[in-house]
């Protein structure tokens, strides 16, 4: 894992001291809320519906067990015993008191963490494939590049006041787990024809009130040119992105309005001017950062050892968990483990302090001290020896996190919604809970199906790219839900389409069940997943099932 150097440590320490002073001045009344708001937002502190909320960056979703224990400690001492893992691989605390924030940030700094640039119109926490460094599908670990981007973008003087927030995701696998096509910039690391590494650069994707898929504006960008090309792209956006209307201020609007070709041409022109300047990445520097992400000391299994985990006595629950929640590792004898934060009827993404501590223990003992946070609001143990899977499973059973549902219909993304968020129009979490309960007994039969729920048009719950998406709106003062079908945030990215009139809080659960029943009735065979069936059938039979009776 990346370790802070002296510069990083001093920078974060200074920032904590600075914010401590700002909080003191706010409490004393020396700063008004209007003066304080931009300062607190730059440190990840929001004022939500019921309390302050602190959003802590988990760069590219990678945590050590020590860091996870610190998050548990903060949950216990300063918050209300739990935290919420988000769709940007971050962690949110929902109840911190203003006066405690400087101490919380000081505690985070002890374990090389912070909340800088988790809000505001700047380059946000860079996300990455949560299987990075562990999956055989990638050409290289994308996290060193995410770290290089983090260092470049932290307090970047030119890009601290962009027209709007800016999100970057990196993957190095064809199978896209980082949703690069719905990011402001999505980077796909590939092997070039000359054997070196380079990027495909996707620009202008995003969700929110104007969902758009990114356009590829560059292929085969040499890794040495990564930062100069990003700088050129951000410059064009910073120069021409709209500042008169926050709803039209994201880069996606600019790319859409002037066209991807024209945008790419402008970037190219600026890039040619700066590409051989100070931002050229020296090979030594890439290697230096790369070394932090060197693979752990895997132990090769003995020759002839089974490639499957030992299961011991027949245990259907364990077998189900192996099938759903473990994934192929690049190292023979190891597996990647998804820890579902979606117990049936539970709150998606929430974890108690005790659960965080227990996961930290499992990571330390069985996964080379590493945990990952996924944008699907789960955790991952990236490097588990097959022989340890039973112990890991038993450990997860003990803390209620052994649900074998990764990628299934109960593995639902839900934003905090109106239960916490000041922007939300409707609750997301209870809808996720009811759907989870309703479909739990049939989830294996249903197979791969991603439901994503947002409580407002800002789309933090990624409803535009849900196989089934749900958007909460306010209708005559009450909660109301629109249903969308056919989206995907993966390599086959697609935006979901609204089915028709919306539903009330109970009706939306019934509606999802009708969609699922229609799929089960019409699929060719159990191997035809929901999204494939929807692609073949179109929306008509689903609309028929949803609305025919009412018509």
């Amino acid at each position: 894992m990346y370790r802070y150097d002296e510069f990083d440590a001093e920078f974060v320490r200074q920032r904590v001291a600075q914010f401590r002073d700002q909080v003191e001045r706010r409490v004393k009344g020396e700063l008004t809320e209007d003066e304080f708001r931009p300062l607190r937002l730059m440190n990840g502190l929001y004022l939500q519906l019921h309390a302050y909320m602190l959003r802590i960056a988990v760069p590219y979703g990678t945590l050590s067990s020590r860091q996870m224990r610190k998050l548990a400690h903060i949950a216990r001492v300063y918050d209300r015993g739990y935290g919420h893992f988000t769709t940007r691989q971050n962690l949110q605390f929902n109840w911190p008191a203003l006066g405690d924030i400087p101490d919380i940030l000081a505690e985070l700094a002890e374990v090389e963490m912070h909340a800088i640039q988790t809000s505001g119109n700047c380059i946000r926490n860079v996300t990455a494939d949560h299987f990075a460094g562990a999956t055989a599908e990638e050409v290289a670990d994308p996290r060193p590049y995410a770290e290089i981007i983090r260092q470049w973008s932290s307090l970047h003087p030119e890009f601290s006041f962009l027209p709007r927030k800016f999100k970057v995701a990196v993957t190095a696998a064809e199978r896209d787990r980082a949703a690069i096509q719905v990011h402001d910039i999505g980077l796909h690391l590939k092997r070039l024809a000359d054997g070196g590494l380079g990027f495909a650069v996707w620009v202008g994707g995003g969700q929110g009130r104007t969902p758009l898929l990114a356009k590829k504006i560059r292929d085969n960008l040499p890794e040495a040119d990564l930062l100069s090309y990003l700088e050129a792209t951000l410059r064009i956006y910073n120069l021409h992105g709209r500042r008169d209307n926050k709803y039209k201020a994201r880069i996606k609007i600019l790319v859409h309005e002037i066209g991807a070709d024209a945008f790419a041409a402008q970037v190219e022109e600026e890039w040619q001017r700066i590409r051989d300047g100070a931002l050229k990445l020296p090979e030594d520097e890439i290697k230096r950062i790369d070394a932090y992400f060197a693979p752990p000391a895997f132990v090769a299994p003995p020759a002839g050892a089974s490639a499957k985990p030992p299961t011991g006595a027949p245990d259907a629950a364990f077998e189900r968990w192996i099938v759903r929640n473990t994934h192929a590792h690049k190292q023979r004898g190891y597996a990647i483990v998804t820890i579902s934060l979606k117990p049936i009827g539970g709150v998606p993404g929430d974890a108690s302090a005790a659960q965080m501590d227990a996961v930290a223990d499992l990571a330390q003992r069985y996964s080379f001290d590493e945990v990952r946070v996924t944008h699907e609001q789960n955790l991952v143990l990236p490097h588990v020896c097959l022989g340890d899977l039973r112990a890991v499973y038993d450990g997860l059973v003990a803390i209620g996190l052994a649900e074998a549902n990764a990628g299934l219909v109960t593995d639902i993304i839900a934003c905090p919604g109106l239960d916490y968020c000041a922007l939300a129009n409707a609750r997301s979490i209870p809808i996720a809970q009811r759907i989870s309960e309703r479909l739990a007994t049939r989830q294996d039969q249903i197979g791969d199906l991603k439901i994503k729920i947002s409580g407002c048009i800002n789309a933090c719950g990624h409803h535009h790219v849900g196989h089934i998406g749900i958007l909460g709106v306010e209708k005559r003062g009450e909660e109301h839900y629109q249903l969308l079908l056919g989206g995907s945030g993966a390599e086959d990215a697609a935006l979901a389409a609204i089915t028709g009139p919306g539903f009330g809080p109970t009706g939306i659960v019934d509606a999802v069940e009708k969609v699922v029943d229609t799929y089960l009735k019409l699929r060719k065979d159990p191997q035809e997943a929901f999204l494939s069936a929807y692609g073949r059938l179109g929306s008509a039979p689903f609309k028929e099932a949803l609305y025919a009776a009412a018509a």
Partner: protein, 126 residues
């Protein structure tokens, strides 16, 4: 705010120290919950509440004050018109399902303030 002011409304804000949802009561104190909340029923009373909210925000007691439209039952009980405000008043609806959730220690009640010259102690007196 007063342009489209509701006929029955109460003044709410978030407390500066912890962000808690508070309402202005008859004594001019910001309290959690609607018990004793001042109700504005006329444009004058609405203006008085708005003025009080701006004043207490400027004094750094609360943040982002605004008026909430209420329904009043025959027995005088108040319910927010919008679902959003009902959730804001009642707290997250899912806390019973949150793993490890620990109730907060109740905040110490705010001291009853001395009247400040030139400012309303509560809307009724304005």
């Amino acid at each position: 705010m007063s342009k489209s002011a509701p006929t029955i409304s109460v003044l709410t804000a978030n407390r500066l120290s912890d962000g808690a949802v508070v309402f202005l009561d008859f004594d001019g104190v910001w309290v959690e919950g609607l018990r004793g909340a001042v109700v504005a029923r006329s444009p004058d009373e609405v203006r008085a509440l708005e003025s009080r909210g701006a004043f207490d925000a400027a004094r750094n007691i609360v943040v982002e004050p605004y008026l909430v439209e209420m329904l009043e039952a025959a027995d005088g009980g108040l319910t927010p018109v919008r679902f959003r405000e009902r959730v804001r008043l009642g707290g997250p609806s899912i806390l019973g399902d949150v793993p490890g959730y620990v109730e907060a220690v109740p905040a110490k009640p705010q001291a009853r303030p001395e009247p400040v010259a030139g400012q309303p102690v509560h809307a009724e007196a304005a």
